[in-house]
């Protein structure tokens, strides 16, 4: 089982990736790690923040429904999702549903944060008040 460490402005959590549900995308994400970016709070999706630099993931997902592996329409706190068209990762930390101008969108469910989310969620909520912060993703053994 692939696990990653996520750190948002000094607050660490661990997450499990869904190798079984999204094997190609998870493998591509794994190959990108470590990855660091300045993340900002979402403006359409509720309690969710997202990366801004495109992840170097180049996959042909045309054969999959909705053009992605493991398409999900709803997110729970701690869910990690990927939007192929923007090559961005988004992480839900509370009440959230991935959306853009046209409304709610399907995204690829790639994993979920394990354990207590409270400190991480508190830090994520501050993105709206303090602006962009550094997010790092790295492989865990």
């Amino acid at each position: 089982m692939k696990k990653i460490g996520i750190e948002l402005d000094g607050v660490p959590v661990t997450a499990v990736l869904y190798e079984d549900l999204a094997p190609l995308t998870v493998a591509a994400l794994w190959a990108c790690l470590p990855f660091e970016d300045r993340v900002t709070h979402g403006k359409w999706s509720g309690d969710m923040f997202h990366t801004n630099e495109e992840l170097p993931i180049d996959l042909d997902m045309a054969q999959f429904p909705f053009g992605m592996e493991n398409p999900v329409g709803f997110q729970a706190p701690g869910d990690i999702v990927y939007l192929p068209v923007a090559r961005e990762i988004a992480i839900a930390y509370g009440e959230a549903r991935f959306a853009w101008v046209a409304g709610a969108m399907m995204v690829s469910g790639l994993g979920r944060i394990e354990g207590d989310l409270a400190a991480f969620a508190k830090k994520a909520e501050r993105l709206m008040w303090e602006g962009a912060k550094t997010l790092t993703l790295r492989r865990l053994p």
Partner: protein
Amino acid sequence: MKRMIVEFDDQQFEAVLFEDRAPIICGNIWNALPLEGPVTNTKWSGDMLRLWVQIPEPPEHENMAQLHNPGDIIFLHKWNGLRFVYGQARMQGPSGAHPTPLVGRMLGGVDALAALGRRVEWEGARPMRLRRA
């Protein structure tokens, strides 16, 4: 016609209140001026800034609008404060879109407001001050 000066992050804009269409809410806003508070983006509604102030809230829901244009100024019952639309936006929350009182409009400066909206997104909350023109 009631006009306000919007001072936001060292820039100044003029706005008008729709006292003909939302007389009670606009009267409350006018009587509460000057107002000052931090501005953030919203979580659910797109290109829309939220000014975190408290305005005496009447029960009346006047001039309800569901679609918004850049420059619109919106009051929101229960959550209070004012919202400033600077791009593609729709007032909504976890339960979906909902109409809200349209109480005024910026008289120009929308492009500058949009730039400030992006700045708030990246650099964090900035102060805004509203006063009578």
